[in-house]
């Protein structure tokens, strides 16, 4: 968008939508978006305040709850998404003829756990915690786009660092990384 257009838009009066209209258009946008859409992007596209967009999504979420629909509005990977409710997973799976997708191996899950908690983290650092080479696990995680390269560590050999991706948040149903329980919480479980 050119600066001239942006200025023109800024001077233009805000569109006059009442709340129910705003809720409806927000629903349409969340639906067409092919990945979770942030409140900020909603507000930008609609030329509304962030607060107004926020209020509309919240209203929409409550409406979905109230009408006991087959769908839900939820926050995932920092954005809003419409998804089916867990109660109907059997029927949906039967319809799509899908099986639950292939499980990650134990090694891949462990490596992912280390990366999620220690990011950005290098291959030798992962080795130190797991006590075992993790190369093929890292390759699998990269292929599945669950992790991404996060630049180099400024140390001998400048090794590549890894961290979790947006797809990780989506596939594990997380709003953001802070939703993960603290690693120290697992200490109690250790006998």
């Amino acid at each position: 968008m050119s600066e001239a257009v942006e200025e023109a838009l800024e001077d233009a009066p805000k569109p006059t939508r009442d709340l129910s209209e705003l809720v409806a258009v927000v629903e349409a946008l969340i639906f067409v978006a092919d990945e979770p859409i942030t409140t900020k992007l909603l507000a930008d596209v609609l030329d509304e305040d962030k607060q107004a967009a926020e209020a509309a999504v919240e209203q929409l979420r409550q409406e979905y709850e109230a009408r006991e629909s087959g769908l839900q509005i939820r926050v995932i990977a920092g954005g809003w998404q419409i998804a089916t409710r867990t109660e109907f997973h059997e029927e949906v799976r039967k319809f799509l003829r899908t099986r639950p997708s292939a499980k990650l191996s134990l090694a891949a899950l462990e490596t992912l756990a280390v990366i999620a908690y220690k990011q950005p983290v290098t291959v030798p650092e992962i080795l130190e915690i797991r006590g075992v080479q993790s190369a093929s696990a890292i390759k699998t995680l990269l292929d599945k786009r669950l992790i991404v390269a996060k630049g180099r560590k400024e140390t001998v050999g400048r090794p590549m660092q890894y961290g979790t991706s947006k797809d990780f948040l989506i596939q594990f149903g997380l709003k953001d990384l802070t939703e993960l329980p603290s690693i120290e919480d697992f200490e109690d479980l250790v006998s």
């Binding site: 639906f31 067409v32 092919d34 998404q81 419409i82 998804a83 089916t84 409710r85 867990t86 997973h89 949906v92 799509l96 639950p100 997708s101 499980k103 990650l104 191996s105 134990l106 090694a107 899950l109 462990e110 992912l112 756990a113 280390v114 999620a116 908690y117 080795l127 130190e128 915690i129 797991r130 006590g131 075992v132 080479q133 190369a135 093929s136 990269l142 786009r145 991404v148 390269a149 991706s165 596939q171 594990f172 149903g173 997380l174 329980p181 690693i183 120290e184 697992f186 200490e187 479980l189 250790v190 006998s191």
Partner: protein, 258 residues
């Protein structure tokens, strides 16, 4: 836990992780999954022995561990080296435990000097991530009950891949490989037998006094040769007056003539 031979191990992290079954009395193979690493195996053995992690019966666990390693003949080689490193660590701790204690040393310092301490710390640290892995497993299982919408028309306008730097590299490698295909050459190497491998390794240890395991493994050209080399090393340690030495944790393992 008294189990008749042939040995059968099962364990349950979440279902279907590792089960080692005897195919015949002397040939064992990994059926499903594998231990995620030497620390994982060690935790399994400690639990199997119902031992206290803060007071590991190191002699018994070491014996169990070595017995287990011998069974894992068909183990993936990248893992095998790490399993050997742990074997060396256990043997080292075991021998330190056998040393007479310095009667002059204060009790407190003694406790601090427990040769098992570093290993216990690593096990505890590792087990946290193992639990975190379990948590992730549960989360992803739950998430698999939720579905996002099917394809709609406007998706097609955007039916392209979203790329990361990793994609750049893999794509580049594929292009290079595609070109290299045209000038591919097959090089056949003669496979070396286990007996020859043992003979060769024995000769080198006798001549040089010691051989670096890592260097020895690195000379191998194929996965098959690596397996043979690994078994040869185990055989030599078992049958000869040779011991495994590791100078520091994560360091190279040395085969040394006693």
């Amino acid at each position: 836990m008294s189990q008749p031979e042939p040995e059968t191990y099962t364990f349950d992290f979440y279902k279907e992780t590792a089960e080692i079954v005897a195919e015949s009395s002397d040939e064992l193979r990994i059926k499903i999954g594998e231990f995620a690493g030497p620390l994982d195996l060690l935790l399994f053995l400690i639990r199997q022995e119902q031992a206290n992690i803060f007071d590991i019966p190191i002699a018994r666990i070491t014996d169990e561990y070595l017995r287990f390693i011998r069974l894992m003949k068909t183990l993936d080689i990248a893992v095998a080296a790490d399993f050997l490193v742990m074997a060396a660590t256990l043997i080292e701790i075991k021998s330190k435990m056998l040393l007479p204690r310095d009667p002059n040393a204060a009790t407190e310092a003694d406790e601090l000097d427990d040769p098992r301490q570093e290993l216990v710390d690593r096990l505890l640290e590792y087990e946290k991530y193992k639990s975190a892995a379990q948590m992730l497993y549960e989360k992803t299982t739950l998430e698999q009950a939720v579905f996002s919408r099917g394809k709609i028309e406007s998706d097609d306008e955007n039916a392209e891949v979203s790329a990361t730097v990793f994609d750049l590299l893999t794509v580049f490698q594929k292009i290079v490989a595609r070109r290299a295909e045209e000038i591919k050459m097959e090089i056949h190497r003669e496979e070396i037998s286990l007996a020859d491998m043992i003979k060769d390794l024995r000769r080198r240890i006798l001549e040089a006094g010691e051989v670096s395991l890592l260097a020895f493994f690195e000379e191998m050209h194929s996965r098959r040769e690596l397996v043979t080399a690994f078994i040869a090393a185990l055989e030599i340690v078992r049958t000869e007056t040779v011991k495994l030495v590791q100078k520091k944790t994560f360091g190279d393992v040395i085969l040394r003539k006693v």
